[in-house]
């Protein structure tokens, strides 16, 4: 991944755990569907409310999530396409570097 793509990802967390939690929040919003509220996400993940709201706000700031027009629910932002694409692009690299596998064509 180029430096530009790294910078674009944007998740500026100070601890690795926060990044993990942010991704868990994203995954939960994806699972629950558009319109899920902060309280539901916090309950489902078992995270404290204040932490969940902070993560949700961070994700909205960086446009991975958008707020519903009435501001009380969340939906996935278009930018998660990029995140998923970056993760997908990373996988073939791991496969090629394993010594016991033949270099294969990209899936």
């Amino acid at each position: 991944m180029s430096q530009e793509q790294f910078d674009d990802v944007g998740l500026r967390a100070r601890q690795p755990k926060a990044v993990q939690s942010a991704l868990a929040v994203l995954e939960e919003v994806a699972r629950c569907g558009p319109g899920v509220t902060g309280m539901e996400v916090s309950r489902n993940l078992g995270l404290p409310k204040a932490t969940t709201y902070r993560l949700l706000n961070l994700l909205v700031e960086d446009e991975y999530l958008v707020r519903m027009p009435d501001l009380s629910g969340f939906a996935l932002g278009r930018k998660v396409e990029m995140l998923v694409r970056l993760a997908a692009d990373a996988r073939p690299l791991q496969v090629r570097n394993r010594p016991d596998r033949q270099p294969s064509t990209r899936p």
């Binding site: 558009p34 902060g38 409310k49 958008v66 707020r67 501001l71 996935l76 278009r78 998660v80």
Partner: protein, 503 residues
Amino acid sequence: MKALQDAVARPPQVGGFADTSPLHGLARRSLGPTDALAQSVAAAAPTAAAVTMPMLVAEAAGRGAGSAIVAAALLVLLVGYTIGQFARRMGAAGSLYSYAARAFGGSGMLGPAAALATGFSLLLGYACVAMFALAGSALYLADVLAYFGLGPLPGWAAAGVVVVLGACCLWLLLRGIGLSARALLLTESAAVLVLLAALAVVLTQLPAADVVRAGPDAGNQGLGGIASGAVLALSAFVGFESATVLGVETRRPLRTIPRVIAWSAAGTSVLYLLATQLQLAAGITADTAPTGRAWDPVLRTAGVPGLIPALDLGAALSFAACSLACMTALARVLLTMGREGVVPAWFGRAHPRFLTPFNAVLATVPPVTLVPAVLLAAGTGTWGSMNRIIGTAATAYVAAYLLTCIAAPVFLRRIGELTFWPGAAAVTAALALAAALVAYRVVLAGQGRHAGGWIYLVLVGGSVAWCLWRRRRGAAPADLGLYDVPTREAVLGGPAAPGGSGR
């Protein structure tokens, strides 16, 4: 990340989003954090305030002037934190009005009344400060000229300066936010640099221990004095919230604007505290310095009399930038109200090419320029009128902050995100602001200066009542609280990208 991958592969249907934002037509996502910071700092006018305010606070609070400013700064930080609760969730062009409207809602009578009171308070506050700042700029320019022996400026000439300044602001505001933001940044940076230079020079000339221990000889004025001083100091901070009107035009507003507000509050606090302590350390009291010229003896004591016209120029620039910033804010709040139907829709139109709130600017800048021009040309009673204007402005601002702090927990509860600290901060700030507002009006009334309060009540109360009456008998009431709703394009599951799938 299975659910996420599935969602990307088969995007869910998401309703409720439109192709354009309700605040389309403005220069969306075109400004950076520096421009937003310039807006907030300019509206607060730190150089102008640092030149005029410390002596007033010292007069009221005596030895406790520093404490008064710290108290005001803490309150301002609390208010900023509360405003941030809105700013990190919604980008808007109507500043505190949009926030209050989102919280209180548009149905019934009480909700809209509170929202409209916030909006009209803001309009009044921004307009009054813009008027005051235009006059202030002209007067400090006159002082610069007077220092170089170019005689006292006649009233009509000062009025002319105001008209020229107003015309420049008008042109900048019509032509584009990028242009006016750049002008604002340059002017305000120059003003702040001048202030920093003056403070730095004076700091090096005075013993550090004196600065820390400083207090005037008039003795302790007690807690009441500190409270009055704090209220006076509070009025120096107002405007720090105005970056919130750039919620549509700033990039990443939900991240940038809360930070800008916090930085403006913190930065101006430090400047004011330093300015006040330096004045007190130099042994200046209200008796030794004529009003508005408190820095002359300080700079002379520090051995740099040449900085006197420089500081005056800095104050003039600061006032000019302040008026531009307030006009920027005023037009955008009015535009929002126009789009909601609170005021005629004509005010809500943006210029198709310049992407500015064209009509709102045309409607507000000329009157805001003419009032101080006429007052200065008339000559007599200028300072009396200016005091009334600034008194009205302070009342209006504090009222708007108070309503916003009440709105915050209501808003958070409404969207299901109320937690302890934001709620506690909002309630504390609201109580402190209410006390400050009452104390301010009581103290002024005691001095026979109630005009500002009455002007505020009549103008804002009248406007709110009129709007409510119109809504009752008029067409279907529009939803208040217009903000920059994300477009369909920003949502996963919006319109398909031109390249199709299979990247």
